[in-house]
Symmetry: C2
Subunit: 188 residues, 2 copies
């Protein structure tokens, strides 16, 4: 059910450098790049999740500029991409919103650059997405990744990209692009 896939970028709760829970700052290019990738792979909504009012203001200003302000006429395709972005304070709000829209809870997929037990392969993830009748939510973390409490909320946890490489430090923007491509590819 490719028209029911959602992405979310989590700014809280995420792990800091020392493993403690932190809130990360929103980055302009995380909004743009992940919106463009999500839109290109036919994602229904891309949720930017942050509970801090000052950070929410930044997101609103970026979206306002490109979907209503000067940016809309200057670059209509950018406006189109950003039209699928929605600001949410907490992951729980995302889940409620999807359930309200779709009439059922989404399957949630966790992503991480670290090897973990009980992951599904991208091939398995792809089959789940292509065959399920449920909506699917793909979770992406910022900072040093998402904590165990978020993983425990998820139905599936995807294997890492390039896990056997001696170096795997992709940006979240690159990771989202690759995950969407591996799960959806050229399907429309």
């Amino acid at each position: 059910m490719l028209n029911k896939i959602y992405t979310a970028l989590i700014h809280y709760p995420v792990l800091g450098r020392d493993g403690r829970i932190i809130t990360t700052a929103v980055t302009n290019l995380d909004i743009h790049d992940i919106a463009r990738s999500s839109r290109t792979y036919n994602i229904k909504k891309y949720y930017v999740v942050t509970h801090l009012p000052a950070q929410q203001d930044i997101v609103r200003r970026v979206l306002g500029y490109w979907t209503e302000g000067f940016g809309k006429t200057y670059n209509p395709s950018r406006s189109d991409a950003l039209s699928i972005v929605e600001l949410m304070p907490y992951i729980e709000d995302v889940l409620e919103e999807i359930e309200r829209t779709e009439g059922q809870k989404p399957l949630i997929m966790f992503t991480s650059a670290k090897r973990r037990p009980n992951t599904v392969t991208f091939q398995q993830g792809r089959e789940i997405i292509l065959t399920t009748q449920k909506p699917v939510l793909l979770l992406f973390g910022t900072g040093w990744g998402m904590p165990k409490e978020l993983e425990n909320m998820c139905d599936y946890s995807l294997e890492p990209i390039r896990a056997q490489s001696e170096f795997n430090h992709l940006s979240v923007r690159a990771a989202v692009a690759i995950v969407l491509d591996r799960l959806i590819g050229e399907s429309v």
Copy 2:
């Protein structure tokens, strides 16, 4: 020959919005994100190609900060990623440098978001990369893409990502990540 793959990000000559040749500005995150993706996929060098002295200064400052300055101790894996970045004024300098290092000219692959005649599929591109004895250079454009004169220098031109989607406006950072993943994937 996976240890002989090179990437290059071209800032001149590229197309502007109106189809004329322009020089684009270097973006900090293009340096970082594409370095991290290149390093994760075991790319030998990532060339940032710009002939403008002021733009070259920006690249040098970013690289200096992260590979010699404070950034090196603050984030060693970022320093590692940026250690494969090299600044070059023109594409011709890139070709000379690769020939000098490898003892032979590279196969050059062109990339674009637009459908063009005589493209190779990603599967074909993958087979070429995995079987050739030659070094391979993957070219990525900024702005509104690379002009015909650059395509004519190339041995192969890769098909676009998501060409049949009604919307395909990936950032160059996302496009590089997906192209590397499709060509190299989990190969080491």
